[in-house]
């Protein structure tokens, strides 16, 4: 697999479509704005361990309020690596989170799921997470896996642990995963280590990214920041993000929202660098407007794409890999609204060059997860990736000799030049229909929604990922059993 995906074409031809929503100067202004917020206003941090680390690192700590000197933040941005190489479960390199390489995947922790067989909107089960892993494993444009819902048929405080077990046993792709607390993070890391032969192997070739979310604006609970510290101590990559609602937990202006998003990410990055200089952090996270009629985050808003693209520009300016959002919707069903919102955001996120683009499964304001949306997004991503590859211009592709050989009125179908190139030059639809009306009618007049449902069901019924050995499966089960025993004893103490 090529290391540089799309920008390579522009080295040769300057033709790969790219866009920016912020200039270098505007990125600098947003970064400087965040530095000023961190130095003057500071943040509320409710973790004794983090407070001590910040104090020793040179921050001003008054009670739980921490103010960050700009030079310290700038140091942390410099020491955090600008690139992270991710591996699959078999130790093969699969994602180069750097530059403008883009990788898509689903999202996590939704509280409802849309059953792809019954159409029912219901609570997610562990089996749904296994299905999510199977579907992402099967789709070539899904580069990593998330859980598509916190399972609710398991011990509630171990939904994260059970979800990881369901994922890691059903896919070889890299996994991005959240956890309730440090104990669960340890369980998850132990399970991942078991797959590759120990923690040091996992550190060498990570296939797991730990995810932690703070509570904006500028408030970091021990649940959030301690997980960033944990990841840095374990020397594993960490996504540390706030979830920004413009007009709610951030200013109503796009620029002001970006300032809060950057400042809150930096609070995690500084902590991580103070624990271990050079630890791998990824910034970004969902960022959109608060829908002022329902007061919830709008997942299909144009501002989601605009803000995410802007934040990607600032992340690139800072040299920190970016975790962006796309392929999601506010629609409640598989319909036209869903397709419009998903397609728009996938294109914009791809053009923005964000490294990890997540939530290619979330609808209904992120409340409901749908594997059908993941399957639909896979098709849209295929189209977008073709656009991103641009137009290659050289003597071979200009093909003047071929044109001469075919001569006026001929056709190019039988030319060797055509045979050798058409498979790479053209994108091939798998769900989009281009057949003629009569043929479409002949095969049942199926809508896109029906074709998506059929493909989703087919993948769930037929695809199986490369299995783990029984020995590793037993080790993973032992970690889950250990976690269950721990939670049972915690509960009895209460």
């Amino acid at each position: 697999m090529p290391k540089s995906q799309y920008v390579r074409a522009s080295f040769e031809t300057c033709a790969t479509p790219q866009f920016r929503v912020l200039s270098q100067d505007q990125c600098e202004s947003i970064f400087l704005g965040a530095l000023e917020v961190l130095q003057h206003t500071g943040a509320e941090v409710n973790s004794p361990e983090a407070l001590e680390i910040y104090r020793k690192g040179g921050c001003r700590v008054d009670g739980t309020r921490v103010r960050f000197p700009s030079h310290l933040v700038e140091w942390a941005v410099r020491t955090a690596p600008s690139r992270i190489t991710m591996y699959d479960r078999n130790g093969n390199r699969s994602m180069y989170l750097e530059g403008q390489n883009v990788y898509y995947g689903p999202g996590s922790a939704n509280t409802f799921t849309l059953d792809p067989f019954t159409g029912e909107r219901r609570r997610p089960l562990k089996q749904d997470t296994a299905r999510a892993a199977i579907v992402s494993d099967a789709l070539s444009n899904m580069d990593y896996v998330e859980d598509n819902g916190a399972p609710m048929d398991v011990t509630p405080t171990l939904a994260d642990v059970h979800a990881f077990q369901a994922m890691v046993t059903n896919t070889t792709k890299p996994i991005i995963h959240w956890g309730f607390g440090i104990n669960q993070y340890q369980d998850i890391v132990d399970m991942a280590s078991a797959c590759v032969g120990g923690l040091s192997e996992l550190q060498k070739r990570p296939f797991l990214i730990l995810y932690s979310e703070s509570s904006p604006p500028l408030r970091h609970s021990s649940e959030a920041i301690d997980k960033a510290l944990f990841a840095a101590k374990k020397d594993l990559p960490c996504i540390y993000t706030p979830c920004i609602f413009s007009g709610g937990v951030a200013p109503a202006t796009m620029a002001g929202s970006l300032v809060v998003a950057v400042a809150d990410a930096l609070i995690g990055i500084v902590a991580g660098q103070l624990v271990r200089e050079g630890s791998s952090f990824i910034m970004g996270g969902p960022i959109s407007t608060m829908d002022m009629s329902s007061s919830s985050l709008a997942y299909g808003a144009p501002e989601l794409s605009l803000l995410s693209a802007g934040l990607s520009n600032v992340a690139r300016y800072m040299g920190i890999p970016m975790f962006s959002t796309a392929g999601c919707s506010d629609s409640k069903v598989i319909d036209t609204q869903l397709a419009i919102e998903a397609a728009f955001s996938i294109l914009v996120a791809g053009l923005s060059g964000a490294n990890l683009i997540h939530d290619c499964n979330l609808m209904d304001k992120g409340v409901t997860g749908s594997l059908e949306l993941t399957v639909l997004d896979d098709e849209i991503i295929g189209m977008v990736k073709r656009i991103l590859r641009g137009i290659e211009v050289n003597d071979d592709t200009l093909a003047v000799d071929v044109i001469d050989h075919v001569s006026p009125g001929g056709h190019f179908l039988g030319e060797e030049h055509t045979i050798e190139r058409f498979r790479d030059e053209f994108w091939w639809p798998t769900l989009i229909s281009r057949v003629r009306y009569d043929e479409w009618k002949l095969y049942g007049s199926k809508t896109l929604g029906q074709r998506v449902k059929e493909k989703t069901q087919e993948i769930i019924n037929e695809h199986r990922a490369e299995p783990l050995s029984q020995k590793i499966l037993d080790q993973i089960q032992a970690v889950v059993d250990r976690a269950e025993a721990r939670e049972a004893s915690l509960k009895s103490k209460k």
């Binding site: 179908l413 055509t418 045979i419 058409f422 498979r423 009306y437």
Partner: protein, 210 residues
């Protein structure tokens, strides 16, 4: 028994020079000429047809495979000594009067040839009497009419009417195609069939002649 599997594979891959080389080797090795065609060349082309239908192969690859098969058949033909080259049937094809479009029609002709049909490509801008004269001359089992315009597609009906007048309608199947054509139009004017694309046209001819 001569083993033709390499020859079939070369046809599937559309490797014309290899097809020629292996055909020559088969001739030199004393293989039965008809067997070279049936079990080697056409057997390979049948695989191509199946893969095309299942979406594993595409039009350009089918054309190249057909071309390589044709090169092999041309080498064996002189050795047949009066035996006929196996054919799926004879098809006349042309674009109707007033219409100069021919890329689609030519594609249908190529796909039919690759499906083992003998194809007589009459060209473009053909009045009904030209089709009738050609039917008399070539005695085809099928004629294919093509049109791209809503104004010219009505000529298709005239062709069918003239075939009736001349008493030829029962002797030949009429199939039609082109961007403005539909199943409904096809039954309206009394054609025997309509194919929405070149690949389906091959299936249609097979079905009509079965």
């Amino acid at each position: 028994m001569y083993n033709f599997s390499d020859l079939s594979k070369a046809v599937i891959a559309g490797q014309e020079s290899k097809v020629k080389e292996l055909t020559q080797a088969a001739i030199n090795g004393g293989a039965e000429p008809l067997a070279i065609i049936n079990e080697g060349l056409i057997a390979g082309m049948n695989v191509v047809g199946a893969r095309f239908k299942s979406g594993e192969m595409f039009v350009p690859e089918v054309l190249v495979a057909a071309r390589s098969m044709g090169a092999g058949v041309a080498m064996v033909k002189p050795l047949l000594l009066g035996q006929e080259v196996p054919s799926s049937g004879k098809v006349l094809i042309g674009t109707v009067k007033g219409d100069l479009h021919d890329i689609g029609k030519n594609l249908v002709a190529l796909m039919l040839e690759s499906g083992g049909f003998d194809v007589v490509n009459l060209g473009i801008d053909l009045a009904p009497d030209k089709f009738v004269a050609a039917v008399k001359e070539y005695q085809p089992q099928v004629i294919g009419l093509s049109a791209l315009l809503t104004t010219t597609m009505l000529v298709m009906k005239d062709v069918i009417e003239l075939l009736k007048e001349e008493g030829l309608r029962d002797r030949v199947k009429v199939i039609i195609g082109g961007a403005p054509i539909s199943y409904d139009f096809s039954s309206e004017i009394g054609a025997d069939g309509f194919a929405p694309d070149a690949a389906t046209a091959v299936d249609l001819c097979r079905k009509l002649l079965a």
